[in-house]
């Protein structure tokens, strides 16, 4: 059980695919990729089996170079470890990469070896983000994820892919430069107050006896900008619809499934846990942004004509709810946010996959051109219904416990005196209606109207697609019924995060 192996194995897989023996043998490449990703997922499950939620970090490990730390004298090291929250995200990443490899059949038709190599490099970066326990190591993986993602969108995407990919790259890069400034301020003030050079996430402190409050707020805002681009929070969201729409299906699944979660994960780790005093001051503004996120994105989603865009905007809306959960800053709300993130990872991946299938079969994604295909594709319609209902937040499906805990947590939150969060939470409940509106519009428009003649000969899902959809739907149902299995793993760690707010 070595975390190093888990994180760096995909990097080695990617090197395998660049060997010249694979050139031109696309089927062989895909099979090997599927197998490797599957084995990797099984291996990551082993980490769940031997997980012990009473320790601060499970499986701690550190990468050294001939006994030297990464930046020895500056206290920066390549150290990794898993706590409950990061373990779940590691599992989600590994699982979605496996699913994306399955879903790549038919969606990717050229340059197979480069494609799978980039997917596996991306996997290393994502696993690194979630498992690093050092601030600068975290930042390194955060940046490392950009290059494979840029090429995945730009080389295999459709439509205006090159422009969207560049937009994605620039937004995230600018955001991460702000974040770097914030990290360095944190590092520097930690050094001033404790006179210890360290970038270890669990021991960093912004001691505000030595630094004025406004500096902590500046640091918090700088870091928040980086995460807000990724999450995305509304004024910084405009890269997301274009990138999601133009990316190939498996890449959209990964974008929505894992990449958006990095932002919320970062806010949880840095803004809430480390900079709690500043977060207390910023919380009203963030809560209002979260409300705008929820409602604005939902309204935009309702008026889209492209079904992939509807799914993309619904992601932004869900992420707004996650942000609201984080704003409540008590263990219930954050617990709900984590569950909703995981649920959204599974559900949005499934929805993007459905959209990919529809686009492949019918050749269009326009809502007006599609109608009534449930009668020729009944299985697809069934799976889509499960995913759509889950996305709306119907009980006994996976996102319901998340949304419920978020609203509950926000309502009992005692952070602000003037009930702002309660007001925001109550107004945000409208999302349940709005989500039902746009998703039912999608469901109704695509599947349940008169079948037009040109779609009479559509084939239902293939075995490969059936496996993907079945797995995703099964997870949605199982964890909808048994949310406690997730809560048991994460609750000790969430209590650590909210310690500063008095639970």
């Amino acid at each position: 059980m070595d975390l190093k192996v888990l994180v760096f194995a995909p990097l080695i897989f990617s090197l395998i695919f660049l060997l010249p023996i694979f050139s031109g043998r696309s089927i062989l490449i895909r099979r090997i990729a599927k197998t490797l990703a599957g084995i990797h997922f099984l291996y990551s499950l082993m980490f769940l089996v031997f997980f012990d939620n009473s320790q601060t970090y499970n499986y701690p490990t550190e990468l050294t170079f001939m006994g030297q730390k990464w930046f020895g004298s500056l206290g920066i090291s390549l150290s990794m470890g898993l706590d409950g929250i990061s373990l779940l995200f590691v599992l989600l990443t590994s699982f979605l990469i496996f699913i994306a490899c399955l879903a790549s059949k038919g969606a990717v038709n050229s340059k197979h070896s480069l494609y799978y190599a980039l997917i596996f490099i991306l996997e290393t970066a994502l696993l690194g983000v979630f498992s690093s326990t050092d601030m600068f190591e975290f930042f390194m993986y955060w940046e490392m994820e950009l290059i494979p993602m840029y090429f995945l969108i730009s080389l295999w995407g459709s439509g205006n892919a090159k422009k969207s990919a560049m937009k994605f790259l620039l937004y995230t890069f600018i955001g991460s430069l702000f974040m770097l400034c914030g990290f360095l301020m944190l590092y520097n003030f930690n050094f001033i107050s404790t006179s210890q050079l360290t970038a270890d996430i669990s021991s960093l402190k912004f001691d505000y006896d030595n630094a004025p409050m406004y500096l902590q707020i500046v640091t918090s805002i700088l870091i928040l900008i980086g995460f807000a681009v990724k999450l995305p929070i509304v004024p910084l969201h405009s890269w997301l619809p274009s990138a999601h729409v133009d990316a190939p299906t498996p890449v959209s699944m990964l974008l929505a499934g894992v990449l958006l979660k990095m932002g919320a994960y970062g806010i949880m780790r840095f803004n809430i846990q480390m900079l709690s005093d500043a977060f207390l001051i910023l919380v009203p503004y963030i809560a209002i942004l979260a409300f705008i996120n929820v409602v604005y994105a939902a309204i935009l989603a309702y008026y889209q004509v492209d079904i992939k865009k509807i799914v993309a905007y619904s992601s932004i809306s869900s992420m707004g709810l996650v942000l609201l959960g984080l704003c409540s800053s008590n263990s219930i709300g954050i617990c709900g946010a984590v569950i909703l993130m995981l649920a959204h990872g599974i559900i949005s991946a499934g929805l993007f996959f459905v959209v990919g299938i529809i686009h492949k079969r019918t050749g269009t994604r326009q809502l007006v051109l599609l109608s009534g295909i449930a009668s020729v594709m009944p299985r697809l319609a069934g799976f889509t219904l499960i995913l759509v209902l889950a996305s709306i937040g119907v009980p006994l499906l996976m996102s319901f416990p998340g949304e419920f805990l978020i609203f509950f947590g926000a309502l009992i939150s005692s952070l602000t005196n003037n009930y702002l969060i309660q007001v925001v939470a109550l107004s945000s409940i409208i999302i349940l209606v709005l989500a039902a509106c746009y998703l039912m519009k999608l469901m109704h428009g695509v599947f349940y109207q008169e079948l037009s003649e040109q779609y009479l000969k559509l084939k239902d899902v293939t075995v490969n697609e059936f496996i993907v959809l079945f797995t995703l739907s099964l997870i949605v149902i199982v964890f909808g019924i048994l949310p406690m299995s997730i809560i048991d793993i994460i609750s000790p760690y969430i209590n650590v995060i909210v310690e500063a707010f008095g639970g």
């Binding site: 500056l74 390194m140 940046e143």
Partner: protein, 480 residues
């Protein structure tokens, strides 16, 4: 006797380089065309011996030679080693690039080595007279090197360089004369002692500003940077590689020394330097977006990178100096990698226009990988040394004080622009070439190819294991 001990303790490498230049110029009288390959080997051997001789110089205690007009300490020896290694690489790069156009290679290497020699003098100057003479010598060699390529463009570039440089030199000399008027000395140590005892006046501030103009011109910082695009495009590519590295190393090194010893009594100069470096970063990066020629793009990139280094340098501290050294070292290798890629293209009859890069990912995957590593390194993505350099740069500025965060954020935004245009070049290589497949570049181990791969390998290696280099840089900065 005194002369010999001075030379052997402080100027050995310069002496060997001087002998090499002498041999080259004598041989060039007799064998003009026949033995042009010989010239490269003589130059390489001269540079290697000169590099080797650095080992015998005295480091501790600091050695002053020629009546304290020349200094030799750990810092100068380190910078000299960097300059000589860079010169070695540039000589390797320039072989075919020069001989293809012009057979008088002896002259080329004579000029190149003279320029290297004068850069070494610039680094070891401890006196404004030495500095002035060696800077002038560097400029003169550069004029000829720029004009060396055939065609109208190089002549125009050279003339532009001459005119603007004369202005900068005159301003510089004016500043030096002011300083001489105040302190009645040209020696750095004496001037420093004078200002330790006397309160600096407004004339002191004026004089150091004027002196800085001459140095900023060489670094291509904004008001004095209009020459850089035309010079890079007009001169031979190996000469551009030379201009982008060696004079910048030398001038940054002497700037560091001046900032530590003489310029430190004024608070105006650092503020002006920060302001200039910020606007240079904005200017250079904004200009680079629209460039259609890889050489012009690299010109903008070098100006931008130097502005980052100047920013860190102007806030003098040991930590910042080590940052500048680290940034400089990583920048040299990434930059030379990019230039060697351009030279490989030119050797295979491609032009230096950006669209020529289309489709290389399919015909030359290894070349693409190495070039992409250099480009991503310049953009500052992880697992390259550029990322570590950027991290180190940001941490140095933030350590200097919270007041420098607003200019730093502007710098950060310009870095994002830089990320855009570097990525665009890499993206072009993945685009299908509309007309036909590119011809496969020669894969035999020609020296530019080897240098490109080596530079890419160093960039990745330092990006993964930066510890050793950081310790070295700290040690050197501590010793200035």
């Amino acid at each position: 006797m005194n002369f010999i001990s001075d030379v052997s303790n402080s100027m050995l490498s310069e002496f060997i380089l001087f002998i090499t230049i002498f041999i080259l110029s004598v041989i060039s009288m007799f064998y003009n065309l026949k033995f042009h390959k010989l010239s490269k080997w003589i130059a390489l051997i001269g540079v290697s011996f000169s590099l080797f001789s650095l080992k015998f110089l005295q480091l501790e205690p600091i050695f002053y030679a020629f009546k304290e007009s020349v200094i030799s300490d750990t810092f100068t020896v380190f910078i000299k080693a960097v300059i000589l290694i860079t010169a070695f690489i540039i000589i390797l790069l320039s072989k075919k690039n020069v001989t293809k156009r012009n057979h008088k290679t002896f002259q080329f290497y004579t000029l190149l080595l003279s320029a290297v020699l004068s850069s070494l003098f610039v680094v070891s100057a401890n006196d404004f007279l030495t500095l002035t003479v060696s800077l002038e010598m560097l400029s003169f060699c550069t004029y000829f090197l720029i004009a060396y390529k055939k065609g109208y463009l190089s002549k125009e570039a050279s003339f532009k360089y001459i005119v603007t440089n004369s202005f900068a030199t005159a301003t510089y000399l004016f500043g030096v004369s002011y300083l001489y008027g105040i302190t009645s000395s040209l020696n750095f140590g004496t001037i420093n002692d004078y200002f330790l005892q006397h309160e600096p006046t407004v004339f002191y501030t004026i004089s150091i500003l004027l002196i800085s103009v001459g140095l900023l011109f060489k670094l291509a910082i904004l008001p004095f940077s209009n020459w850089i695009l035309d010079v890079y495009e007009g001169s031979a590519t190996s000469v551009s590689a030379f201009i982008s590295t060696i004079p910048k190393i030398a001038v940054l090194a002497i700037f560091a020394r001046l900032l530590v010893f003489i310029f430190g009594y004024s608070f105006v100069l650092p503020l002006i330097l920060i302001f200039l470096s910020v606007i240079t970063a904005v200017w250079a990066n904004a200009l680079a977006i629209r460039q259609r020629n890889i050489l012009r793009l690299l010109a903008c990139s070098s100006s931008a990178n130097v502005s980052y280094m100047l920013f860190a340098l102007s806030l003098v501290s040991v930590y910042n100096l080590s940052t500048v050294l680290f940034y400089l070292l990583t920048y040299i290798f990434m930059n030379l990698g990019a230039f060697s890629a351009v030279i490989i293209l030119e050797n295979s009859n491609y032009s230096s226009k950006l669209y020529e890069f289309k489709g290389f990912a399919y015909s030359n995957p290894l070349f693409t990988l190495a070039f992409a590593v250099c480009m991503f390194g310049l953009a500052g993505f992880p697992i390259t040394s550029g990322f570590i350099a950027k991290l180190y740069f940001f941490s140095a500025i933030i350590r200097s004080g919270a007041i420098f965060i607003p200019p730093l954020i502007i710098m950060a935004l310009t870095m994002a622009i830089a990320c855009y245009y570097y990525t665009k070049v890499v993206k072009l290589m993945f685009e299908r070439n509309g007309i036909s497949e590119n011809e496969i570049l020669p894969h035999r181990a020609s020296s530019p190819t080897v240098i490109l791969y080596a530079c890419a390998a160093i960039t990745v290696l330092v990006g993964i294991v930066p510890v050793g280099l950081i310790e070295v840089c700290k040690f050197i900065a501590y010793n200035l």
